[in-house]
C-alpha cells in the first residue's frame, strides 16, 4: 500500500503568525514561498486565521487557504518549539502560488525533534576516534583540521590540499557561502586542486557560451510567455524546472507558441507540451544519442541558406572577419564570425539526417518553427533552453556553441521572447575571488585522487560516491586511502594531539588521504571522513541566491540550525582562524597573516564582506524589502526605495561575457565529429543498452534529504531504470525486478520500470541515487575542458532478483496523463 501520513487535520495558522520570505532551494527556479511560524500552544480557528477565510468550508481549487501535511512541521526557533508552515506564495511572479513535489516538502524536510523528521541531519562536529566517529566541539574539530592541513600546505605550494566545494546558490550554497569558501581557498590560499559539487574539475559547464560573449542566463522567465517558439534541447523542465514549465512555458503555449524538443527520449515534458499545445504544435526530435552538434549545425546551415537570419543584428553585434579565437587546448573549437562559422559548420540535410536519425522533413520543420519569418514578413521569436543533455552530453563545448550559433544568427539573444539559456539545476549564488590560477583545462581532480594525488581533502557538500563519473574506481581507491589514515589514527588511540597529527601525516605520506567533510548529513563519501563538520541549509540561516533568470532574493532565517551546525561561511571562517592560529604557533607568521579577515559573526557579515563589496547597492534590508519577487541581477541602482535590476541581458546588443572590448559576440566554428570523449565509441560497440540518465521530478539532486523522506522512498525504494517492455520480456525481467546494470567500468543496481515509449535498447536511469549510483558505470571520459560525459553510457542488464516487497508494492503504470 502506498505510504499515507494518516494526518486528518492540521493546526491552523493564526492571524499574526510571523511571516518569512522563502525562496525554494530545491531547484534553479526558486519559487517563492512563505514560512509561517507561531508559538506551539497557540492556533488559529476556522473563523479567525491568517488568511481571514471561513475554514469551516471546503475550499476550491487553487486556494490560498490550504496547506498539505508536507508543508507543516514543528521546529525550533530561538530555542523554542514553534509550528512551521511553508507554503507557496501566490504573489511571487516565479510560481504564482504553485508548489512542486520537491518544494512543497520543504517544511517536512526540516529536522524536527518533535515530529522526528530528518533525524539524519548532523548536529555536532564528529572526529574519527576510538574506531568510529565521536561527537566533539568545534574548537577541537577545527584544531585537528588546521593542524593536519598546515602540515601539507605552504606559502608557495598548496598543491597537496585538494578541495571539493559547491559553487551553487540555494540549498547550503548562496552568496554568503561561496564567498566564505572562496575567500579561504582562493584568497588566503590559491588552491588549484579543486572541483565543483557535480563534476570532477573546477570549470564552467558552459565555457563556449561565455567565450562567445553570452552569459548563460540572459533572459527572464516571462520571455517564454511572449515567444513564438520554445526550443528545448536536452532538458526536461516539466520534471526538473517544474514551475518554470507550469507557470511560464505553459502560458507561452497557451499564447500560441510552438515547441521543438530535442531529446533522444520521450520525456514527460514532451507529453505535457502535447497536452497543452496540441500534438500538432509540438515537434519532438528524438535524435540519436550524442548527435546534438550534427542537428544544430544542420539547422544552422539550413536557416542560413534560407536567409532566415537577422542580418542587421549579425552586422552590428557580432564579430566581423574570420577567426577571432583559434582552437587550442583551452578552446575545443575556434570562434569567429558568422560567415566563418557557417563555413566550418556546414552540414547538408542529408548528412544531418544520417547523423541524427531524423528525417530531412523533421529538420526542415524544426528550422521553420525556429527561424522562418512569419507570413507578414516579421521575424519569429524563439527562446532556447538547454541543460544537462548537452552540458553532460557529447562534445559539450561544440554542442552548446552550435546551439548558440542559431540563437545569435536569428537575433534571439537580448530580445523579448528570445534568449538562449541553460535551465539550470541548483540556484546560483557565486561570488568568489578569481579562479584564474586553477588554469584551463582545469586539473581532473577525481582522476588525480585515483592516481594518488592529494594528502588532505576538504569536501564541502560534495558526494563523489553518488555523483561522480568512474565512481566505482573512485570509491575503491578513496576507501583504501582514507582507511590508511583511519588505521593510523586507531593505532594511536590515547596519543596527544601532536602525536596523532604525526601519525596522520605519516599515513598520508605513505599514500593515505585525510578527509574533512562539511555537509548537512553523514553522506556516503562522509563514511570515509576523519572529521565531519555539520552545516546548515537555507532557512536555518539567511541566504541570498539567484534563480535561472538572475532573480536575486533573500531567504529569511525561520528556524534554528540542528544542534551546533553552522553556515558554511562561518565554518570557513572558523577554519581560517584555526589555520592562522596554528601557523602562528609554528612561527609561520607571513603565511598566518594571509588568513586574517574572517572575523564574521553572522552570515550577513560574510555577505557584506563579499557580494556587497562588488554590489554596494545590495544589502539584506533592501533585499528583505524586495520580498519574494526580489530583483533581477545585475543590480544597477537603488531608487524610490527599491533596488533596480536588469530585466534582460544584452538588450543593447553589446556582448561582454568573454571580456572582449569590442563587445561583439562570436560564433562557434565547431564541426560535427562524432563521439568526442575517449572510450565512448568502444563502450557503445560492446554493450547492448544505452543507459541515458538524469533527474526525476521527485528526487532532489542526490536524494540527500529524500533518502530520509518516506513519501519519496516509498515510491522508488531503489532507483528506477526505464526499459522498453519488449526488451524486458526478452531478458525475462518483470516490473520491479532488481536488475544489475554492468559494463567495462563498473556495475550498479536498479528496479526495472517498463516504459512503452522507450526505444528498444535505450533505457533511462535516475541519477545520483544513494542505493544504486548510476555514476558507477560512467567511464572516465571527459571533454577537453574536463566536462564529464555522464549521458553517453552503455551497459548490459541482467536480473539479480525478483522484486523486493518494497518494490513489488509500487505502481509501474505509465507516467503519461490520460485525460
Amino acid at each position: 500500500m502506498a505510504y499515507k501520513r494518516n494526518i486528518d487535520r492540521l493546526p491552523i495558522i493564526p492571524a499574526g503568525a510571523t511571516e518569512h520570505n522563502v525562496t525554494c532551494h530545491y531547484c534553479i527556479v526558486g519559487c517563492g514561498y512563505k514560512a509561517y511560524t507561531w508559538p506551539l500552544k497557540t492556533q488559529g480557528t476556522t473563523d479567525s486565521n491568517w488568511i481571514g477565510e471561513d475554514l469551516s468550508k471546503q475550499q476550491g481549487a487553487d486556494t490560498k487557504a490550504w496547506y498539505a501535511p508536507s508543508m507543516y512541521n514543528v521546529v525550533k526557533q530561538n530555542g523554542r518549539d514553534v509550528h512551521l508552515v511553508i507554503k507557496p506564495d501566490v504573489a511571487c511572479e516565479v510560481n504564482s502560488g504553485l508548489g512542486s513535489i520537491r518544494g512543497a516538502r520543504m517544511a517536512e524536510n526540516r529536522r524536527s525533534d518533535i515530529l522526528g523528521t530528518q533525524q539524519q541531519r548532523l548536529t555536532d562536529p564528529l572526529v574519527w576516534r576510538y574506531g568510529t566517529w565521536q561527537p566533539t566541539s568545534w574548537d577541537d574539530a577545527l584544531d585537528l583540521v588546521a593542524r593536519v592541513t598546515a602540515r601539507v600546505i605552504d606559502k608557495d605550494n598548496e598543491d597537496d590540499l585538494y578541495v571539493s566545494m559547491f559553487d551553487h546558490g540555494g540549498s547550503a550554497g548562496g552568496y554568503e557561502n561561496t564567498w566564505g569558501t572562496g575567500k579561504l581557498y582562493f584568497q588566503s590560499m590559491k588552491v588549484k586542486h579543486c572541483r565543483i559539487h557535480n563534476r570532477p574539475a573546477y570549470n564552467s559547464e558552459v565555457h563556449s557560451s561565455r567565450d562567445m560573449g553570452v552569459d548563460e542566463l540572459n533572459y527572464n522567465y516571462a520571455d517564454y510567455e511572449v515567444t513564438d517558439t520554445i526550443f528545448l534541447v536536452g532538458t526536461n523542465p516539466m520534471e526538473c524546472q517544474t514551475n518554470l514549465f507550469l507557470n511560464h512555458m505553459v502560458k507561452g503555449m497557451q499564447n500560441g507558441a510552438k515547441v521543438v524538443i530535442s531529446d533522444p527520449r520521450r520525456t514527460v515534458t514532451v507529453d505535457s507540451c502535447e497536452q497543452v499545445a496540441g500534438a500538432e504544435n509540438v515537434l519532438h526530435l528524438a535524435i540519436k544519442p550524442g548527435s546534438d552538434v550534427a542537428l544544430h549545425n544542420t539547422l544552422f546551415t539550413y536557416i542560413a541558406d534560407q536567409g532566415w537570419v537577422d542580418a542587421d543584428f549579425i552586422a552590428k553585434s557580432t564579430f566581423q572577419g574570420d577567426v577571432a579565437v583559434p582552437a587550442d587546448s583551452a578552446h575545443p573549437a575556434a570562434l569567429g564570425s558568422y560567415e566563418a562559422a557557417r563555413a566550418a559548420c556546414r552540414m547538408s540535410l542529408a548528412d544531418g539526417a544520417a547523423a541524427t536519425g531524423l528525417t530531412e522533413a523533421q529538420i526542415i520543420q524544426a528550422a521553420e518553427w525556429i527561424a522562418k519569418p512569419k507570413e507578414d514578413g516579421s521575424r519569429r521569436k524563439c527562446v532556447t533552453g538547454y541543460e544537462k543533455g548537452i552540458i553532460w552530453g557529447n562534445d559539450n563545448y561544440r554542442a552548446i556553441g552550435s546551439l548558440l550559433n542559431i540563437a545569435l544568427a536569428t537575433g534571439n539573444v537580448g530580445r523579448e521572447g528570445g534568449g538562449c539559456c541553460r535551465l539550470g539545476g541548483h540556484q546560483e549564488g557565486y561570488y568568489r575571488p578569481s579562479d584564474a590560477h586553477v588554469g584551463r583545462p582545469a586539473p581532473y581532480i577525481d582522476q588525480l585522487i585515483i592516481a594518488g594525488g592529494g594528502k588532505v581533502h576538504h569536501i564541502w557538500a560534495n558526494d563523489h560516491y553518488k555523483t561522480t563519473l568512474n565512481a566505482a574506481e573512485f570509491k575503491r581507491v578513496y576507501n583504501r586511502r582514507s582507511n590508511m589514515v583511519k588505521e593510523a589514527m586507531d593505532a594511536r588511540a590515547g596519543a596527544t594531539r601532536e602525536e596523532l597529527v604525526d601519525a596522520i601525516v605519516a599515513a598520508i605520506n605513505a599514500g593515505g588521504i585525510f578527509s574533512v567533510n562539511v555537509d548537512i548529513i553523514h553522506s556516503q563519501i562522509g563514511q570515509a571522513a576523519h572529521v565531519i563538520l555539520p552545516a546548515v541549509e537555507s532557512g536555518e540561516m539567511n541566504l541570498t541566491s539567484m534563480n535561472g533568470e538572475r532573480r536575486l532574493r533573500l531567504t529569511e532565517k525561520y528556524m534554528d540550525p540542528p544542534g551546533s551546525a553552522r553556515p558554511d561561511c562561518l565554518i570557513a571562517a572558523g577554519m581560517a582562524q584555526a589555520l592562522e592560529r596554528v601557523l602562528r604557533e609554528e612561527g609561520r607568521n607571513d603565511y598566518a597573516d594571509q588568513f586574517k579577515g574572517f572575523d564574521w559573526k553572522t552570515e550577513e557579515d560574510a555577505f557584506m564582506d563579499g557580494y556587497h563589496q562588488a554590489n554596494p547597492e545590495v544589502t539584506y534590508d533592501r533585499l528583505r524589502a524586495m520580498g519574494n519577487n526580489g530583483v533581477l541581477e545585475p543590480v544597477v541602482g537603488f531608487a524610490d526605495g527599491k533596488l533596480v535590476g536588469t530585466n534582460r541581458l544584452y538588450e543593447d546588443g553589446v556582448f561582454t561575457r568573454h571580456g572582449r572590448e569590442d563587445g561583439k559576440a562570436l560564433f562557434c566554428m565547431g564541426e560535427w565529429r562524432g563521439w568526442q570523449a575517449p572510450g565512448k565509441a568502444q563502450q557503445q560497440a560492446n554493450h547492448r543498452f544505452f543507459i541515458n540518465n538524469g533527474r526525476a521530478n521527485m528526487n532532489w539532486q542526490n536524494w540527500f534529504l529524500d533518502q530520509g523522506n518516506e513519501f519519496v522512498m516509498d515510491r522508488f525504494p531503489v532507483p528506477f531504470i526505464q526499459i522498453n517492455p519488449e526488451d524486458m520480456a526478452e531478458l525475462g525481467i518483470k516490473p520491479g525486478d532488481m536488475v544489475e546494470v554492468y559494463n567495462d567500468v563498473g556495475a550498479t543496481q536498479a528496479l526495472a520500470y517498463p516504459e512503452p515509449t522507450a526505444k528498444r535498447n535505450e533505457t533511462f536511469m535516475v541519477f545520483g541515487a544513494p542505493n544504486g549510483a548510476q555514476g558507477n558505470i560512467v567511464n572516465a571520459g571527459v571533454n577537453e575542458l574536463i566536462l564529464p560525459n555522464y549521458k553517453a553510457t552503455w551497459a548490459n542488464i541482467r536480473k539479480i532478483s525478483d522484486a523486493t516487497p518494497a518494490s513489488a508494492a509500487v505502481s509501474y503504470k505509465s507516467w503519461e496523463v490520460e485525460l
Binding site: 486528518d8 487535520r9 512543497a104 507550469l246 507529453d271 505535457s272
Partner: protein, 175 residues
C-alpha cells in the same frame, strides 16, 4: 479526450461556488453536513460512517461518484475487478478515493483502461490499484483513500480517510 477537460472546468466552477450537484457527483451522498460537523474536542477526528452504496449497485471498473466525509468532498467508489491490498468486499476489490488532486485541488477523472485517476490541472496521476499512489505528478502526498466497511447485506460504508483532503484543514469540517 477533451471532454474530461471540459468536465473539469465545470466541476471546478461548482466547487468554487460551493454548490454540489451540477455534475451529478452528489448522487450517493448521504452524510448531512451538520452531523459531520458535530464534533466534540477529542484527540482524533471522528469520521462519520456513511453508507455509499450496495455492492449490487457497482459495475466492475465503472466508478460511482460519492461525497465523503460530506457532500463537499467529491470522491469515487470503485469495484476494480481484481483484489488489491486494502480492497474491501468479498472480492477484496472495492476502493474509494477523493478525486480532488492533492496538488492544487483540480477535479480528476478516471481512466478505466489503466485504472488511474488523472488530473487536468498539471497532469498528475494516481494508481487506484496501489492505494492511490501517485504514479507521477506534483502532489506531495498520495491520494486520500476512504476506509470501507461492507456489511452482510452488501452495504458499503465509508468510515475514514488516510490523508488530508485537498481544500480542508480538517477532513471532517469543523467550526
Amino acid at each position: 479526450m477533451k471532454c474530461n477537460r471540459l468536465v473539469d472546468v465545470g466541476r471546478r466552477q461548482f466547487l468554487r461556488g460551493g454548490v454540489l450537484g451540477a455534475a451529478g457527483a452528489a448522487a450517493a451522498t448521504v452524510m448531512p453536513a451538520a452531523q459531520a460537523q458535530a464534533q466534540t474536542a477529542r484527540a482524533l477526528v471522528d469520521y462519520p460512517s456513511s453508507k455509499l452504496a450496495n455492492i449490487a449497485d457497482l459495475k466492475v471498473n465503472e466508478p460511482m461518484d460519492i461525497g465523503y466525509p460530506d457532500a463537499d468532498s467529491p470522491g469515487i467508489l470503485l469495484k476494480l475487478g481484481t483484489a488489491v491490498e486494502g480492497g474491501a468486499g468479498p472480492d477484496g476489490d472495492i476502493v474509494a478515493f477523493s478525486v480532488l488532486c492533492p496538488h492544487k485541488g483540480f477535479y480528476m477523472s478516471y481512466h478505466a483502461a489503466d485504472k488511474t485517476l488523472n488530473c487536468p490541472g498539471h497532469f498528475s496521476r494516481f494508481d487506484c490499484e496501489k492505494g492511490g499512489q501517485q504514479v507521477w505528478g506534483h502532489a506531495t502526498q498520495n491520494l486520500p483513500q476512504f476506509a470501507l466497511r461492507v456489511d452482510d447485506k452488501g452495504d458499503i460504508y465509508a468510515e475514514g480517510a488516510d490523508e488530508l483532503i485537498y481544500g480542508r484543514l480538517s477532513n471532517v469540517l469543523q467550526g
